[in-house]
């Protein structure tokens, strides 16, 4: 008889429909922005929608066709939000560039994406003036400000003024309908090796991610929320908040470039922020400022923390001292970015507080839409028992299939089934699906077929009172193939011997996982973003001979 086809309306999942929804159902709900220009700017979802349409008209007037890449170098603010909707909604592609990268990386990325337009905040004018000669594909440079703030002169010929572009249009233009698999935006990974790689999101993937991200077990976004994304809009679309906020009609508060403790606290309080999201570092600054001034939050209820593991002590402080629920999350550029978030299940409500805390410190459970597995080096599934750890692989509607301009598939097979994205992380998954990152794949130590987490060993070494910093790397061993070597920097004026430090591991981890040796160094090499360069360390200690 053959499959029956459903008889439902076919509506493509398009990003423009989010801002139209927000304008219609939360038209006077505010979008408040701390501007680069210094002041606090207030607008509404209705205005954002109208101006996004005018911006789309302006891109058309500039000669940008469907598929044209619109690059941005900008902080979180309403103009950046208008570019999100104006570019993607008009079948063009919003390409957010991380302005914190080295200038040559910025140029490389803009060229790789073939950006036609580059929109940038006022404070990035000197950077763009310096880079313009290298930006071969960019035809139009747009300064995201009004006429009053335009420079008297600039080395950029024909520098355009954002507000003038908007003002020249009448808004008499309708959002086009097109295939939901069309590219909506591009974000580049900040790879530690080689060139950055572009992830090309589609309207469909962004919309499904927006639904999932707003669910109660994820960011839990509603029309009663005031959301301040500390995570930048150039960092995986601010974790999708610009989309989920429009979906639910929440008020948005954009901090601009002012991410110091004082600026953030004042904005949280004056705008009555209920929800935020960001990396651990930013909370450190905020909490330090608040403690120093004996301040409390009056409206802030919960935050998602991701990007890197949230230290348990920070979770505890936020929850117990400041009354803020911390939702620990894991994701990556290739996942749009949300993969897992840690929330309790009904059966955990009767657990003692400490046991609940240990669950919440994990990276958490996948949201529906993402499928996850851990595999060994032969691609075989490992058990979800919370103990076995293996290479973390994922698949789902908002996971990349390949990178921009690179036809080679990065995907791997699981038990012979192709189509899984290897995250490069090593993790455990328990029977309820709670995932915990234990290492990066390239850093795990493979000893006689068993894996040892370098992070676990580093955390123990760092707990020793004499140790300032520690890194654990694999070292060749004739019998076990690899064994852990501890590289440690001592605190000024402190002292501990190698055997003493290794004895410190006794009882804190299984005996066979204890490092075979320690070397003390004056300094451990770091990347520009502060990560330990383990590759460099491994090269440095390639010839190190472990004790028998």
């Amino acid at each position: 008889m053959g499959a029956l086809i459903g008889q439902m309306m076919q509506m493509p999942l398009l990003i423009s429909s989010l801002v139209v929804h927000a304008a219609r159902h939360a038209g006077d709900t505010e979008v408040v922005s701390k501007r680069v220009e210094g002041d606090l700017h207030r607008t509404t979802w209705a205005e954002i929608e109208l101006r996004s349409r005018k911006l789309a008209q302006a891109f058309g007037r500039l000669g940008c066709e469907a598929g044209a890449r619109i690059g941005t170098l900008a902080w979180n603010g309403y103009r950046h939000l208008e570019i999100y909707y104006g570019a993607s909604g008009s079948e063009r592609v919003c390409h957010t560039i991380n302005p914190r990268l080295f200038p040559e990386q910025i140029a490389w990325i803009a060229n790789d994406a073939a950006d036609e337009v580059l929109c940038f905040d006022l404070n990035f004018l000197p950077l763009v003036e310096k880079l313009q000669a290298e930006l071969g594909t960019v035809k139009h440079f747009v300064l995201m400000t009004d006429r009053a703030h335009m420079p008297a002169t600039s080395s950029i010929a024909g520098l355009l003024c954002y507000e003038e572009l908007i003002d020249a249009e009448n808004g008499d233009w309708q959002w086009p309908q097109f295939d939901e698999n069309t590219a909506s935006s591009i974000c580049y990974t900040s790879g530690t090796t080689g060139h950055p790689k572009g992830a090309v999101y589609s309207h469909r993937s962004s919309l499904l991610h927006a639904y999932a991200a707003a669910l109660p077990d994820a960011m839990n976004c509603s029309a009663r929320d005031v959301i301040l994304p500390v995570v930048p809009m150039f960092h995986v679309n601010a974790w999708g908040i610009p989309y989920s906020a429009a979906m639910v009609g929440a008020k948005l508060v954009m901090p601009g470039p002012h991410l110091d403790g004082k600026s953030l606290f004042e904005l949280f309080e004056s705008e009555k922020v209920t929800f935020s999201a960001g990396v651990p570092t930013v909370w450190l600054g905020l909490l330090t400022y608040m403690k120093a001034n004996a301040l409390k939050f009056s409206s802030f209820k919960r935050t998602v923390i991701g990007g890197s593991a949230c230290p348990p002590a920070m979770m505890k402080t936020l929850q117990e001292d400041f009354g803020v629920e911390v939702i620990h999350a894991w994701g990556m550029t290739e996942l749009s970015p949300l993969g897992t978030l840690s929330k309790l299940m009904a059966k955990h409500e009767s657990l003692p507080h400490e046991a609940q805390q240990r669950l919440l410190e994990k990276q958490g459970k996948v949201i529906y839409g993402i499928d996850m597995a851990i595999i060994d080096d032969d691609g075989k599934r490992l058990p979800h028992d919370g103990v076995a750890f293996g290479n973390l692989v994922v698949r789902g509607s908002w996971v990349i299939d390949r990178y921009l301009g690179n036809p080679a598939s990065p995907l791997v097979s699981v038990d012979g089934e192709p189509g899984w994205f290897p995250t490069g992380d090593v993790a455990t998954i328990d029977a309820d699906g709670y995932m915990q990152i234990t290492d990066r794949s390239k850093d795990v130590i493979k000893s006689g077929g068993e894996w040892i987490s370098s992070i676990d060993l580093e955390n123990i070494a760092m707990a020793h009172p004499a140790v300032h910093e520690a890194a654990v790397i694999s070292c060749h061993h004739p019998k076990w193939d690899e064994r852990p070597l501890l590289v440690a920097v001592l605190k000024p004026g402190m002292n501990v011997s190698g055997p003493e430090l290794l004895a410190f591991f006794d009882g804190r981890i299984a005996k066979w996982q204890i490092p075979d040796d320690v070397v003390f160094v004056a300094e451990i090499p770091h990347t520009a973003t502060g990560k330990i360069q383990k590759l460099k360390l491994r090269e440095q200690f390639k010839g190190h001979r472990l004790p028998a």
Copy 2:
């Protein structure tokens, strides 16, 4: 340059992925069912997934191909849930039939859908035995019970036992991947005129509905919830709860046929239910029982009430006396069914309680994914000002395109743009998108180009102490085309004159909307489901001459 295509994984949105997700991430979370057999049955999402797979195998063994319709006559229970997943997940179509319909309607619907298999609960055996001769397309009759409960003899030749079908399979079978636009299930509307019509949902429409239904501003479902759907699974898929519950890994409590106050209360308490959903009538029974026995809920936090308008007094009682948040909702079979739900926005939090209450008494705002408008009889948009009322039309990913077996499009145009589904309701929409039903399209009174809500007039008449029941219908008027006529039934022993009753409207509604005349009758005609038969009333009073 042409549009750029996103480079994301292409994963079809399939219903089977929901139960796989639940089994993997909430495997030991319970599904508890009050069985027709009389006892309380406990299983888990992991078991449900396994048995759904076995059921899919069994359908294959019975010779059901892709597209085969699997009919059900069943209460809310785990076996019904397994049929949802086993049928839809194997590319067959789950067709839930309302057992409360007249037997001839049931037969007509099963034939119209061409059901190949009919699965039914034990207490429907006599009904099916009586109907079997008329069920021309049904090849297999499956009694949803175990061997011990099978009848010694039955007039149904080859009557199959559900548990035996399951037990004969090994579960060594994988959920197939196919086009997400494939039909997943069929529900028939209970039309007041003509034959019922079939809505054919797709996997895509059901999945998008499941995401939207679980959002904080909709049903707000999480892994911490224990959900008891009072709304039957034969009534628009229990409003999607079987899907949303699996999506978030919530515990499900299925009440079977026992919907009286005592049975429900005991189940709410013993299983620690946090969330429920149902029509107003069922809450009436529950609250009456609780009041009579001075009982309180210990875990129940919120409920969605829809199907028909929730009386404000019931909302107040549930919220103030029983501490249960009431979420007023509107939907219909053609909308899968959720269209709007009433929740407050951030800006309403400072409103006085009474003003909040008036908003919550409306049918609420659309969830993202549904688009809504009100139009006049010429298809022109009317303003969203909370005052203008017009024909309510909708469109979206979970709205039907046409009915089963009927190529004619039911859709209409809005300002010349085709593709909107006419709901048959008349409503207002305010500037924030809060919708309020004011009438059914066919019942509204069109007086000199202005519309008058029959429901508003009935509510006023019913507030008069002498009035037992009231219906307002349109009556031909030579000048105004239509004018309202009030038909009233007096309470036993009470009396009021026509002019006195009309005077009661003064100050309660605009003068020009007050009915022109009153007729007192002994009884107002009702349908089998208790609705006033206004068509019959209009025929009865066709010749009525209004006073000049």
